[in-house]
Symmetry: C2
Subunit: 147 residues, 2 copies
DNA sequence: TCCTATTATCATGAGGATATGATTTTTGCA
DNA sequence: TGCAAAAATCATATCCTCATGATAATAGGA
């Protein structure tokens, strides 16, 4: 449904946010179980997109460039998915031409539009909040990475 | 969102249904603009899944094995997508372990579940019906393949 | 000033999805 | 009976995603 790369990116942002908004590639890779070199490139892209700031050298790493409430999930996945991701119809690899919808168009558009809206209205802060309530429910044993 | 292969399969079934429930690979490939050899393999898979029947030799081809109302889109795409397609969560490549949901689980599951339900409740007949109402609205000029 | 930590960049490769082309098997029909 | 049509199968190629490894550039701190 979402590429591995997008999932890595989301996970990495959560880890950074939980680490107080700053962390380096090795820490994030270890915490989220992501190949280190590959993660480096992903974070670099998020930097170019303006979601992260990076600093080199000792003590460096990546920082959130905005507050979690201001980071839409849509911005993250648009950094890695095909631009046509939400435009494709059920039967084609491109957007249905204007005025000439495919036979699945009317049935499919509401589904994909709802998905797009989810990514647009959900922010990194929402994921963090969900994690908090999970931790409250499950207790520390089930969430060792938050101890 | 869906693989090219799944989209080809759906399109091919529509073409077969519109051709009176029977057509051969070359006809379908031409009508739906699908590479002929590749389509052959796709139809073969649909045959093994019990959605099509095939007959070789002159006058042969592929037939719907059931009425369009009895062909769920879910069956079609499950023939080609990863079995984990609807099980993956937002952050992982596998289903969240029982009792230990990821931080996105509660937010994401309703979205993916609605998508799955769409494919489960929508049948080939629904796509055909949608095509009919489009044709009525748009007139023959915009739907030359149905003349 | 030099060492080391860290990101940035480059080169390479494995594997799957998407094809393409040729050959084999089956079957209807003249 | 043999030809032609059609699916079935086999071999190969291409491109993209995901990943690995090595090197270069940068910057903090002893």
């Amino acid at each position: 449904m979402l590429s591995q790369t997008s999932r890595y990116a989301l996970h990495a942002l959560i880890v950074i946010a939980r680490s107080g908004g700053q962390a380096n590639v090795r820490q994030i890779a270890a915490e989220a179980t992501i190949p280190t070199n590959y993660l480096g490139k992903i974070l670099h892209v998020l930097g170019r997109r303006g979601l992260l700031r990076s600093s080199r050298g000792a003590g460096g790493g990546f920082q959130l460039a905005r507050r979690p409430e201001e980071i839409q999930l849509l911005e993250v996945i648009e950094s890695f998915e095909d631009p046509q991701y939400f435009a494709r119809c059920l039967l084609g690899s491109e957007r249905c031409p204007e005025g000439r919808p495919c036979v699945a168009h009317g049935l499919w558009v509401p589904i994909v539009e709802q998905t797009r809206r989810f990514f647009e209205t959900t922010t990194l802060a929402d994921l963090l909040a969900e994690g908090q309530s999970l931790a409250a429910l499950a207790g520390p044993a089930h969430l060792p990475e938050r101890t």
